[in-house]
């Protein structure tokens, strides 16, 4: 009998000894549908590097409560059906708790599945206003202001700089382009600005000569572009400047990468836009996390890189808070943990402490292109929409 007890005891002890490190080693998996090819590849490559780097920083520091983060990803070519395939593949082969999605279409398509699974917190490349609805999208969030909020930040800046200014919006005929138009009208009215004109262009159009004439006739003080990455913004800017227009041009997040704006050439000097994050080279204030990024990657890193980096930071922070509260990593717990983030320091990536009440972070700052210095320079303080 004693021998049996001894044997049971030994086996149990051995089992525990083996199991304990195994449990401690259990990784937290961050999955990603990443557009490394296709029309959004310029952003996907940066996003991928940003997530990779943040995961490396966390893992080098010992992980979260001894658990390492594992980043697994698939290329999606920015096609929603391929993104869903990637999601199925990754969630089928790993116990994924955190996820990065690549598009609004994917965020909307996968939402019922996220709710059904109830085990994943997701963020991604979409800043669609529709996603910023915690009731409808309870397991998702975005690492910045939604498109309506981005336009709101721009209008707030305009109203302060030139009260009663005439504003115009030029947007693409796409879900992305049309997203903030309603809010543009409402906010303009609320802030005492005059809507000079609204111009919609077909997606991918580059011949915008008739739209340029229309915009010139409306003579706005500020023209906001939304729903584009680059084309046809340079065409508008160059033609209007050549025609002597005094309007000031502005863009939203996906237009605002340094390399994108610099492609506008001399005509792009003074181009402004809303940025939720500091630029890689912005050393106007102390930013330890940016310092770390610069040490890891001495060459310029794009704004999508920072978006990926910050998204990974917030996803991991949600996981950390959930585990610290002794709760399992479920979608609901992770989201609750995310929403407990109050006055959080992002290490200077966002210049002010952030609080995440719903599905977005309604903070941004206006940057302006200085073509002589070949830099984007801040022209406003951080603007917070309440």
């Amino acid at each position: 009998m004693r021998v049996v007890k001894w044997l049971v005891g030994t086996v149990t002890a051995a089992g525990l000894a083996l199991a304990a490190p195994a449990q401690a080693q259990e990784e937290i998996v961050l999955g990603g549908s990443i557009p490394m090819t296709g029309v959004f590849a310029f952003a996907g490559v940066g996003i991928h590097a940003g997530i990779q780097d943040y995961v490396k920083i966390v893992n080098d520091a010992g992980g979260i409560k001894g658990r390492k983060i594992r980043y697994v990803f698939e290329d999606t070519a920015y096609k929603p059906d391929v993104s869903v395939a990637a999601f199925k593949k990754l969630t089928g082969s790993h116990k994924v708790s955190l996820y990065y999605g690549d598009s609004t279409a994917f965020s909307k398509t996968i939402n019922p599945e996220l709710e059904r699974m109830g085990t994943i917190l997701m963020a991604g490349a979409s800043f669609a206003t529709e996603i910023n609805n915690p009731q409808k999208y309870p397991m998702q969030f975005m690492a910045g202001p939604d498109y309506s909020e981005q336009i709101g930040i721009l209008l707030r800046y305009i109203a302060k700089e030139k009260p009663g200014a005439r504003v115009a919006i030029v947007y693409s005929d796409s879900e992305f382009g049309r997203d903030p138009v309603e809010e543009f009208r409402e906010q303009s009215k609320k802030l005492g600005l005059t809507v000079a004109t609204e111009i919609m262009t077909p997606p991918g159009s580059v011949d915008v000569s008739t739209e340029v004439i229309k915009l010139r006739r409306a003579s706005p003080d500020y023209t906001i572009f939304h729903g584009y990455v680059l084309a046809p913004i340079p065409q508008f800017v160059q033609q209007l400047k050549a025609a002597g227009s005094q309007t000031k041009f502005m863009g939203s997040f996906w237009t605002m990468d340094h390399s994108t704006v610099m492609k506008m050439g001399e005509a792009g000097d003074g181009f402004m836009g809303v940025m939720p994050y500091r630029y890689y080279y912005d050393d106007s204030a102390k930013a330890p996390m940016l310092e770390k990024i610069r040490q890891m990657r001495p060459e310029y890193q794009s704004t999508p890189y920072l978006q990926g980096f910050l998204t990974a930071m917030l996803l991991v922070e949600a996981a950390k808070r959930t585990l610290e509260a002794g709760k399992p990593l479920t979608g609901k717990n992770l989201k609750a943990a995310l929403n407990s983030i109050k006055d959080f320091d992002t290490g200077g990536i966002i210049g002010v402490p952030i609080t995440i009440k719903g599905n977005s972070i309604p903070v941004g700052r206006i940057y302006r292109a200085d073509m002589k210095a070949q830099k984007m320079v801040p022209v406003s303080d951080w603007i917070h929409l309440d």
Partner: protein, 346 residues
């Protein structure tokens, strides 16, 4: 032709599957399809459903382009019509999914026939350009008829229901999508044993001669558009149930080109070509991901390997077009002939 399959009746001569070997293999395939969901992972089930949806749409396009000789670049837009019809019916009235799918097919059929009218006057590239108009006009309607389509934000679709059981997972969706795909493919195969199907082929081979032979071009060309669009509508309806979200950007022009590529790679004017082409175009990019994943240091090299993979896929398509212009179906036939005649040379 298979050796030793002498036909004794006209019925036997017309049979879709004319040999015992063929029937046995089909039974094996049916058994495999039935067992597949019980052994496959969620990922493979997802891909199977996606292939089945693409097979339906490609089969429809093959009826129009491969069999009737009318080039269309509107197949994705007609899928959109089916998807929106299903989404609206399911959301507003919660009607049974089979009825919704039929309605989706029917509405797409009517719309397809309207856009098929130019086919009476123009052919080839000119018709392709005319059908592109369908893409643009329908996209505009999807994006702007907000009261019905939900505008640019689109519509979310509740899952299909069978006796109160929601088909909300890949496993459950498989049992809706794959049997419908099988039925639609069988329907298409049977179509070419009828006067209608043969009239389509006659129109493709020489439309003036077909008319001389007593085939009214107006009726049959529009019918071909109608049937192709019906297939697209049903595929779109299944797409809506499967992805549960329909937006104007869900069915872009590039998707129509994708279906055209499916039937060219698979084999124009063959039902098997639609199946093989849709499977090839859907699965090869995924298979390439798998193969590239086995390369040493693949994860670290992902940024560089991803575009290479896309290029390999493109090269494969070009390779097929050069070395096998009759498509995968012809390759399949050659392999089959080899086994039929073995040990003799083909």
């Amino acid at each position: 032709m298979r050796i030793g399959t002498a036909k004794e009746t006209y019925f036997a001569d017309e049979a879709l599957f004319d040999t015992r070997t063929q029937r046995v293999w089909l039974l094996v395939l049916a058994a495999l399809l039935a067992v597949f969901p019980f052994v496959a992972s969620q990922y493979w089930l997802y891909l199977a459903c996606l292939v089945a949806i693409n097979v339906i749409a490609a089969t429809g396009l093959n009826i129009l382009t491969g069999y009737t000789g009318l080039v269309s670049l509107g197949q994705a837009a007609f899928m959109g019509v089916g998807a929106y019809t299903v989404a609206v019916l399911e959301r507003r009235w919660g009607t049974p999914f089979l009825l919704n799918l039929l309605a989706g097919g029917a509405v797409a059929m009517v719309v397809g026939m309207v856009f098929g009218v130019p086919s009476l006057r123009v052919k080839g590239l000119y018709l392709a350009i005319a059908t592109i108009a369908a893409s643009f006009i329908l996209h505009f309607i999807f994006a702007n008829w907000t009261a019905v389509t939900g505008g640019t934000a689109g519509l979310t679709v509740p899952p299909a229901n069978v006796f109160g059981l929601p088909l909300d997972s890949e496993f459950r969706s498989y049992w809706m999508i794959v049997p419908i795909a099988v039925l639609m493919v069988l329907g298409a195969a049977n179509l070419f044993r009828t006067r209608i199907g043969r009239a389509f082929i006659a129109i493709r081979d020489r439309d003036i001669s077909a008319e001389v032979l007593g085939i009214p071009l107006l009726r049959y060309k529009l019918l071909s558009f109608g049937i192709a669009s019906f297939y697209a509508g049903v595929a779109g309806g299944l797409w809506a149930y499967f992805f549960r979200s329909v937006t104007p950007e869900s069915f872009p022009l590039i998707m129509s080109i994708f279906f055209l590529a499916c039937i060219i790679v698979g084999g124009m004017g063959t039902i098997l070509g639609s199946i093989l082409g849709a499977a090839f175009m859907t699965l090869v990019p995924e298979a390439l991901k798998l193969v590239f994943g086995w390369l040493p240091n693949a994860e670290a090299m992902a940024v560089h390997l991803a575009p290479v993979r896309t290029m390999v896929f493109g090269a494969l398509i070009v390779g097929f077009l050069i070395f096998e212009p009759h498509g995968l179906a012809e390759m399949w036939r050659r392999v089959r002939r080899f086994f039929h005649l073995w040990p003799f040379r083909t």
